[in-house]
């Protein structure tokens, strides 16, 4: 089974604008547990 999250979050376009945009903090293939951070603004 699979859980797919799709959500809106502040952009993080790198040119300094939208500073503090959303970033993922995981890598592909990483094992995660309920409650562990996968990203943040």
């Amino acid at each position: 089974s699979t859980v797919v999250l799709v959500f809106e979050a502040p952009a993080n376009d790198g040119q300094g604008e939208g500073k503090g945009g959303f970033r993922f903090t995981v890598k592909r293939g990483q094992t995660v547990k309920v409650g562990e951070a996968i990203g943040g603004v």
Binding site: V4, F7, E8, F24
Partner: protein, 425 residues
């Protein structure tokens, strides 16, 4: 010509009726095939790629029936003496950490119950930092990233599917406007869609009575603030239907709300909706992000809320039950849009939020704690339902949550709260 017309002898004879019927039949069939080809925008006789061969092989299997009877098989109660050994073997094969399992192994009557086990309280600490999205389930992060304006969820290995196909397109006008405005990356359009007429901020806040710190909700049942966030406390359980949780025991296991959620609720209660809906700075550019988490057979199969958000709608797509193993996920473009799935749609502090739960052959049943009506992978009923839905040309069943208070207009979930789970069969 005139003389030929006059002098030629006219002779009448019977045409075999069969020839007539054959001609009429041929014309009808040709009309039908052209119409069907028109529908699929396919020129008759045009050669088209048939899609992944695995899909065709797997769709010859009675996946639903397999899943249904697999579930029935796993509900056969095991003798008490066999349970520990049986579950230890299962745990050894699939890598289950038995130290975290809440109950002694003899308590689980069958594999289905063991599969839907709970963990000991505190086994999964929730990351309480304010703007952090936490993992909704135990598993492996298969994909994540940003959805560009094509509206396609681009995967690394070429597996893509359209957002509309995944979440369903019959959105309320506002959702569609917001999602497409976000994809158009035009902040003005987003603001207009969001704060214009019919936007989020039009949601009128219900009365928040200072006296008992309670929400008066649409049904006259009142909730105290802690109730709203961490599930019903002892004394209020009697007074209200279990809107939040299917069974009272569910409420006891919801992790207590984190500090910031209470602040959010206070903020919310005082009518500052901004904490739950779009944040103050409406001009900050927003993007759509996605993450795909695959649960292996040995993983803990209940899923939790990744952020504090409000679920407004549930969409149930009665699709197929292809396996969703990483092997197949990388080979079947659009697999998720083929499988049976439940989409929870709502909002969080940065805008739209959705959680899609995709079933698979061995775990076809998806349960949502606060949604009694949802019935997935019910082999017989679903077949009739599917026919019905196809006749009406709809691809999913939609339910709207009234939620526990008009203030939220949906089902509020705190970060880490248990939302539901995948069941065997």
């Amino acid at each position: 010509l005139a003389s030929a017309w006059k002098n030629t002898k006219t002779e009448w004879y019977w045409i075999p009726a069969g020839l007539g019927v054959a001609v009429v039949g041929f014309v009808q069939i040709r009309k039908r095939t052209n119409a069907a080809a028109q529908e699929r925008h396919v020129e008759p006789g045009e050669v088209r790629p048939m899609g992944a061969w695995q899909v065709h092989v797997m769709s010859t299997l009675p996946l639903k029936a397999l899943s249904y009877y697999w579930g029935k098989f796993n509900e056969i109660p095991l003798p008490v003496w066999l349970r520990p050994a049986g579950f230890k073997l299962y745990s050894f094969i699939f890598g289950v950490n038995l130290d975290e399992v809440e109950q002694p192994l003899t308590e689980y009557r069958n594999l289905a119950e063991f599969f839907y086990r709970r963990l000991k309280p505190g086994a999964r600490p929730i990351d309480e930092r304010h703007n952090v999205v936490v993992s909704p389930a135990d598993g492996k992060v298969l994909q994540f990233g940003e959805i560009r304006s094509t509206g396609q969820v681009e995967q690394v290995k070429g597996m893509t599917y359209s957002l509309d196909a995944l979440l369903g397109t019959q959105q309320t006008p506002n959702d569609a406007a917001v999602a497409h405005a976000v994809l158009s990356e035009d902040p003005q359009a987003t603001t207009a869609a969001r704060f214009g007429p019919g936007g989020d901020s039009d949601k009128t806040a219900a009365v928040y009575s200072d006296t008992h710190k309670e929400f008066a909700n649409v049904n006259g049942i009142s909730y105290t603030l802690p109730d709203l966030l961490s599930g019903p406390s002892e004394n209020t359980k009697k007074q209200k239907r279990s809107w939040f949780f299917r069974k009272s025991e569910d409420a006891s296991t919801t992790p207590s709300s984190t500090v910031d959620d209470v602040t959010v609720a206070a903020d919310l209660a005082s009518g500052q909706l901004s904490s739950w809906f779009a944040p103050g700075d409406a001009h900050q550019q927003r993007r759509l992000f996605f993450a795909v988490i695959y649960l292996a057979p040995g993983d803990y199969h209940r899923f939790h809320s990744p952020v504090p958000w409000v679920v407004e709608r549930r969409r149930h797509f009665a699709g197929e039950l292809y396996s969703v193993s990483p092997y197949l996920q990388n080979r079947l473009p659009g697999l998720f849009t083929l499988n049976e799935r439940v989409v929870l749609l709502g909002r969080w502090r940065h805008g739209m939020y959705s959680m899609t739960l995709v079933g698979a052959t061995n775990v076809g049943s998806i349960k949502i704690n606060f949604d009694r009506e949802l019935q997935t992978n019910s082999f017989v009923k679903l077949a009739e339902q599917e026919k019905e839905m196809q006749k009406e040309g709809i691809s999913f069943e939609e339910a709207t949550y009234r939620g526990a208070s008009a203030l939220l207009g949906g089902q509020p979930l705190t970060k880490g709260a248990e939302v539901g789970g995948f069941n065997l069969g």
